[in-house]
Symmetry: none
Subunit: 217 residues, 4 copies
DNA sequence: AATGAATGAGGATTCATTCAT
DNA sequence: GATGAATGAATCCTCATTCAT
């Protein structure tokens, strides 16, 4: 009895290899070899190599989007700042749990292909909608200062993706192991400082009332 | 008379194509076609495809490092904050002027190859040294708060690289054209806010005396 | 139904083409075309072109060596002269039956490559051992005169290989068809004369008692 | 001042490389590099690569043929046996003095190309004519036994070419250095034994009167 | 006489994919 | 479901050759 299905085993191999060597740099034969199965199975389960790519990217982004959506929904019952922090914590967690896919998707998304453009439309437009809503609400409720929202999103996304786009830089230059618990923890806190000190309005009162939020939501 | 040398023309084509389709996704034939020359010239000038890659990445990172080095040297005559801002402005400029290469190098650097690992050692270790020196000086001189330096570097690098790692996201989702003058300008200012409000110490005096720095040094 | 396996068909084509045009002068495309199959199959079955070469040469020399070994073993039960004649007959036969490979291997062996040097060590050292043993035994038993063995081996190998190293010379200059039965027969007899008159001791008795040996052993 | 002309330097490089790696296995760039000159010079002096081949082979065979012709001419004033021995000694000498070319030409001549076929007609037909004349005269004058001439030529050519077709075999298996003076000497003597004992008639008188011939003619 | 840049054809190899089993 | 054999297209690279200088 094989513990995991062949489909899942292919997914895992592909995630690892795409991550390490890139999509174009990985051959289906390598994936098959790592999966310890025949090449033809990849076509069998995913149609072709591109289908495998699409599957990986889509399922990853679906989960990713769900995180942000959840934070967005909380806007009804929590402050914008809390929602933003929820999103940040959630994303950091999700990325840590899917580190191979995270790096791979973040890299692949920088390419200019039809597939990527479609994904932009499907997922990232929604992501932007949620982030924008959170920021707009914060500004309206005078919790956030009058930041230009797109630039804030850029900064946020830049900071969030950094550890996964440069894992080797982190380990070999900064000597930080990006997958260790306390690293994620601390890096999250640093980003939160950016939220508190750069995004939020700087009344002393605001700073005094910064409340911690639970890690898992 | 050809206005530019064939070597330079190959470089330009390669930068554009590597940028758009990735290194592995680009064929030497495409490069030759775009350069309007014979495939063999690529081997002639760069040995092989990988030689071309190395040339592009190395020359890009050399220029990149020079920017940061210049800011580092200014530590003798300027405040840490000013030096950090100089570095940020310089990098933003350099990236804007080499936008194809910037995106490409930033993406390629995420792969796990021998070449990349060598580059880490050669260039990015130095980059880290300069950044660290600037931050350490700032902390010692009580200009910066007691930030954990590696995490600050991560945030900074994340923010700086973001527009070039997601140009399509910017244009098609955020509707920001990343290469327009005012965009770079404004994004730089937003990152500066992070420096001023999150990195620097929060005495009211410090905030009052934030001085603008000239764009070009 | 294909009568012979693709692997065998590739071997046959390669033997013919390597023979006619040399290893370096033959392209894998030609081999594939002659085999009426796709180029990729050559890599599929033999790894690469060099793997095909190695396969051909090794399997040929294995069979070749077996012939001589058999003659060597007969030293226990026959005279040295008989063993030598057995070897000569056996080699002539083997060469005739593998004429393409024979010519090709004999030519390729004159090159100075790593592969060839390895083959020397593996096969030809053994060949020399067998020949030497036969000659030494003959000399000790006073059947052969005191010939310098290496030179005898040289002469013998020179004569044995000649028809296959110059097939065109034979057909177009000497007008001898080297693959016809009686040609091999007669050439073998001529070489035997060299054994009888130049190698063996010249007592009249010896000459009188020269006994023919059966062609097949 | 360069001591040798570029043309000659190209010839020397080509002879060495063709010898070691074969004609098809050698590139004009390698020849140029070894000659320390530009690739274009090869085309300049010899038209193209094949022209260089033709030049080498032709000039070698011209010299080779001259040797045998000289022996043939001596038929007027000497015995057939002496002439044959003269030819053998002359060829051995010529081959030793042109060892690179010898090996290369002997190997290249085994290929089945137009060029080779033309050379057969031009040179080797003449060679055969001379050998045949010597043997026929010897038989007519009852100096040689009734050998079948083509087979005798084959044996002779086989023995003569052997050391140059297997130089590595000689050095690495037999541990004979084929270019040392005494080796050539002794090998020549061994071939002469074949002439004396296998080719010549076996009257005791004949054997008693075997006269040595001077090495250089 | 000699060169360096440039070319186009062709080299071996590897790729994703398919198909009969 | 799963496989090994087989395919054709495409890969990068190297070849001999030429041309202006």
């Amino acid at each position: 009895m094989k513990s995991t299905s062949m489909k899942q085993r292919i997914i895992d191999s592909a995630a690892f290899l795409f991550n390490t060597k890139g999509y174009d740099g990985t051959t289906v034969r390598e994936i098959a070899k790592r999966t310890n199965c025949n090449v033809a199975n990849i076509s069998y389960y995913f149609g072709n190599k591109e289908g495998l790519l699409e599957y990986l990217v889509s399922s990853y982004l679906e989960g990713y989007l769900a995180i942000i959506e959840r934070a967005y929904i909380e806007l009804d019952s929590r402050s914008s700042r809390e929602c933003l922090l929820l999103a940040i914590r959630g994303i950091m967690n999700y990325q840590k749990e899917n580190r191979h896919l995270t790096r791979f998707v973040l890299r692949e998304i920088t390419l200019d292909t039809t597939l990527i453009r479609e994904i932009m439309t499907t997922y990232l437009t929604k992501e932007k909608y949620y982030f924008q809503a959170i920021f707009e609400t914060g500004i309206k409720q005078q919790e956030f200062s009058h930041i230009p929202i797109p630039y804030a999103i850029m900064q946020l996304k830049g900071m969030l993706s950094m550890p996964y786009l440069h894992p080797q830089y982190m380990s070999e230059v900064l000597h930080i192991m990006p997958y260790e618990m306390y690293v994620t923890e601390q890096y999250s806190r640093e980003i939160e400082k950016w939220v508190n000190y750069t995004i939020c309005v700087h009344t002393q009162k605001a700073i005094d009332t910064f409340t911690p939020i639970p890690v898992n939501i």
